[in-house]
């Protein structure tokens, strides 16, 4: 479980996050949704400590992150896996080396054990035959999937995904969403997924947080998101015609 408390962040004059609080539960994907530029990525980076919030605290299973010293921070970090919006693969390493990297640096596993683990993870993201390719040789969607494999390779307790399925076709998107859901349930991981894809919301949105103008405006599940009564949320989810006509039918 991750609890965030009053996270506030400004860049210069621009207030991006204005006191966001909330709880992300264990064993399921917690979705962070909101329009482009509302600060979802910044919030995620504040949670993992890549961007220092001006105010606020993050609790990882009751352990405060920002109040801790460097060693505790490192320990918490070593339980994290993160997928970045652009993949963030190491471009001097092959796909296989990228996925193996956390194991190389953070564990004492033998090469065979590491190879096994890497192959299992690559298989889970349906990338069996690209082990030796360089990141520059694979497509954007494949990079995303390699990023996911790298994020889960070291059995994280906390998984963070920034737009795991942007740039993927609908079929692969669903596969990735289900993969994230499955591993969260299977290994009891606290997963936070940033998305603005309504398919993901309706597919795996068991816990959704809607960010609007730097604040946490609404929290709920996919079952009550369509009748939240919050105008800003309705504007967000019923932005396209198909969704609007669906609502009229209901």
């Amino acid at each position: 479980m991750i609890k965030i408390d009053n996270i506030t962040k400004s860049f210069g004059e621009k207030v991006v996050l204005n006191g966001v609080s909330g709880v992300f539960e264990k064993g399921k994907p917690n979705l962070l949704i909101g329009a482009s530029g509302t600060g979802k990525s910044v919030l995620l980076k504040c949670i993992v400590g890549l961007v220092m919030p001006d105010k606020g605290e993050v609790f990882y299973d009751e352990r405060p992150f920002y109040a801790s010293d460097r060693d505790v921070k490192t320990d918490i970090r070593r339980e994290m896996g993160m997928l970045f919006q652009g993949g963030a693969l190491f471009d001097s390493k092959t796909v296989e080396q990228n996925v193996m990297f956390p194991l190389d640096v953070l564990t004492n596993m033998s090469l065979e054990e590491k190879m096994d683990r890497v192959n299992i993870c690559l298989k889970r993201v349906s990338l069996e035959n690209s082990n030796k390719k360089m990141p520059s040789e694979i497509s954007g969607g494949m990079k995303k999937r390699v990023g996911i494999a790298r994020a889960i390779v070291n059995n994280p307790n906390y998984l963070f995904c920034d737009e795991p399925n942007s740039g993927l076709d609908p079929q692969t998107s669903v596969l990735i969403d289900e993969l994230i859901q499955d591993i969260s349930e299977e290994f009891d991981i606290t997963t936070i997924v940033v998305t603005h894809d309504m398919n993901s919301v309706m597919g795996i949105g068991e816990k959704i947080m809607f960010i609007y103008k730097g604040q946490n405006l609404w929290v709920g599940t996919k079952n009550d998101i369509t009748h939240s009564g919050v105008q800003e949320l309705d504007d967000f989810i019923f932005a396209n015609k198909v969704m609007r006509s669906l609502r009229q039918q209901q």
């Binding site: 970090r77 994290m80 970045f84 919006q85 652009g86």
Partner: protein
């Protein structure tokens, strides 16, 4: 400027805490040695050979008096190459080739979030990425300076003897006469200092890139400019400190 220097020292401080295992660094340092050392040896040899040749021709041209024996030419060439041209001019070349590559490499890693990815894994990205570069430079740059010194003197020999400015015997006699080994030690001290300055300043500039591809180019240029200035200032200070009697 002052805050920039402060940040630079904090950057160096962070590099030394919370490091990974020795094994990790061993491999990284070897990789960097290859790119820093082997990657520059051709350019260094080429530049220093020509530097030696030109120095010889120009020194001979300036020694118009018949009272000065020919071997003084190569003696002057030796002193110039060992003391200044090999360590300092090659440092400028080193900044242009290796420093800019370090800065743009780290800058690209920064803007594509690869550095963030390391941090989230709980790895101290500064020591993981920068320490191997600095160690490799400290090991390889003095060797490059030695190569430059040898190539410079060979270049001088070729230019001098092929054009008939100086006879082979006189050239070798000049190289060997009134040799003071402290000049070589001084050159090596200089090269260690310059290697540290170029690699750490370039890494600092690259690591702290903000923005996009355009800013990577800017960092890389700034890395070269700042390293070269630092090298020249350090060159003067070291000369004052170690050579003044």
């Amino acid at each position: 400027m002052i805050t920039e220097i402060g940040k630079y020292f904090m950057f160096l401080g962070t590099m030394l805490v919370r490091r990974e295992s020795f094994k990790t660094y061993y491999k990284l340092v070897l990789e960097e040695c290859v790119s820093v050392g082997i990657g520059s040896v051709f350019l260094v040899a080429l530049v220093s050979t020509f530097m030696g040749a030109v120095t010889t021709v120009q020194t001979a041209f300036n020694m118009v008096s018949d009272f000065i024996p020919d071997y003084v030419i190569s003696q002057v060439v030796r002193e110039m190459i060992v003391l200044e041209l090999a360590p300092t001019i090659i440092a400028v070349i080193f900044a242009g080739k290796v420093g800019s590559a370090m800065a743009s490499g780290l800058g690209t890693m920064r803007i594509t979030e690869q550095i963030d990815a390391l941090e989230v894994m709980g790895i101290n990205s500064i020591s993981y990425l920068v320490l191997p570069k600095i160690i490799a430079s400290l090991m390889m740059y003095p060797l490059l300076v030695v190569v430059a010194g040898v190539c410079g003197m060979v270049g001088g020999y070729l230019a001098g003897t092929l054009t008939g400015i100086i006879s082979p015997n006189d050239y070798v006699l000049g190289l060997r006469s009134s040799y003071n080994e402290f000049t070589v030690i001084f050159a090596l001290i200089k090269s260690v200092v310059f290697a540290f300055l170029v690699s750490s300043i370039s890494s600092y500039k690259g690591y702290n890139t903000q923005g996009g591809a355009l800013e990577v180019g800017v960092s890389s240029t700034q890395a070269v400019t700042s390293s070269v200035i630092a090298v020249l200032v350090a060159d003067y200070l070291l000369a004052q400190l170690l050579l003044s009697k």
